[in-house]
């Protein structure tokens, strides 16, 4: 329930509510992201690989990209410029690959600290 509420702090969402997030909530979000990345690493890797061999193996990347855009349209405020950038197929490849790389670099036991550093240094 708490995580559910935290989602509304995101200014890109349709249902944005401006509540300040606490440091321990921020840490919890990092932990959840790292654990999910560990669990989904084989799939994250396949998506990156699919983009590398796009001519021969485009199905996984296309499925992933299609679903990603569907979720953004469903949940985000598509009038926002930042969201428009995410939806723009010419620009979003670089953003998505960068985020996939960040997730894939954060699957070690020290992944929590790594992801935190990536974020603060962004």
């Amino acid at each position: 329930m708490t995580i559910w509420k935290l989602r509304n702090n995101n200014p890109l969402r349709k249902s944005y509510v401006n509540n300040n997030i606490k440091l321990n909530e921020f840490d919890a979000l990092i932990s959840i992201t790292v654990e999910m990345s560990k669990f989904l690493y084989p799939y994250i890797r396949e998506i990156l690989k699919s983009k590398e061999d796009f001519k021969e193996n485009s199905v996984i990347w296309n499925d992933f990209n299609k679903r990603f855009i569907e979720l953004i349209k469903e949940r985000f405020n598509i009038e926002s410029m930042r969201v428009k950038k995410l939806l723009n197929q010419a620009e979003n490849d670089e953003i998505i690959i960068k985020y996939l790389l960040i997730l894939s670099f954060s699957i070690s036991n020290q992944g929590y600290q790594k992801l935190k550093n990536f974020l603060y240094d962004f």
């Binding site: 997030i21 983009k51 985020y99 670099f105 974020l119 962004f122």
Partner: protein, 195 residues
């Protein structure tokens, strides 16, 4: 008899060969004196070397991967190794031999192999069985940020939360790949083209 320890991640494996430091009362399965290491990447030439090469190569990969995700120009150059991005997906690695008249080894790896390699190095860094001068490039928080950590985290609302949102969408979308079965796809193609 030398000890061998292997770290695997998908298509990459890192093997460390060495001995424990008995003068320090270490366990017999510990490695503190590394005599050789081998980095095997599927379909790529074997990379191997001595202890003095391992640290700089690990540092090179960590620094390069940090540059890659921090919107900085992804180029790393040193006496031993050069890494630069050919494009968004391919990374060009040049390993220079310390011996004269030996041509440098050039290999190209994609993002998937790069992240496998980084994860192998992470496993080595975190292993309690290998004593190595730990690479802390990826773990250190810059001073200015460390200071910021103890203060307010107001900027979280403007940047960090969108990051988590995009990550969660990526993770949700990744799980969608669960439902993709290449075998079913091949069967369907076969049904369409029975020949």
């Amino acid at each position: 008899m030398q000890n061998k320890l292997s770290f695997h991640q998908s298509s990459t494996s890192l093997e460390i060969i060495g001995l424990p430091d008995y003068s320090n009362n270490e366990n017999k399965d510990q490695i503190s004196i590394i005599s050789q290491w081998k980095l095997t990447i599927v379909d790529k030439p074997l990379i191997e070397g001595k202890l003095e090469h391992l640290g700089p190569i690990m540092d090179a990969f960590y620094i390069y991967s940090n540059l890659l995700i921090k919107n900085q120009i992804p180029i790393y150059e040193s006496k031993l190794i050069d890494i630069k991005a050919d494009n968004l997906h391919i990374h060009n690695i040049v390993l220079k031999s310390s011996q004269p008249n030996v041509k440098p080894l050039v290999l190209k790896i994609g993002n998937s192999l790069l992240s496998d390699t980084i994860n192998c190095f992470d496993q080595l860094n975190e292993s309690p069985k290998v004593r190595i001068k730990k690479t802390d490039i990826s773990i250190n928080i810059p001073k200015k940020l460390r200071f910021g950590l103890n203060k307010k985290v107001n900027f979280i609302n403007s940047f960090i939360l969108p990051f988590f949102a995009i990550c969660s969408l990526i993770l949700f979308s990744s799980s969608f790949v669960y439902f993709y079965s290449p075998f079913e796809n091949i069967e369907k193609k076969e049904l369409i083209n029975p020949e």
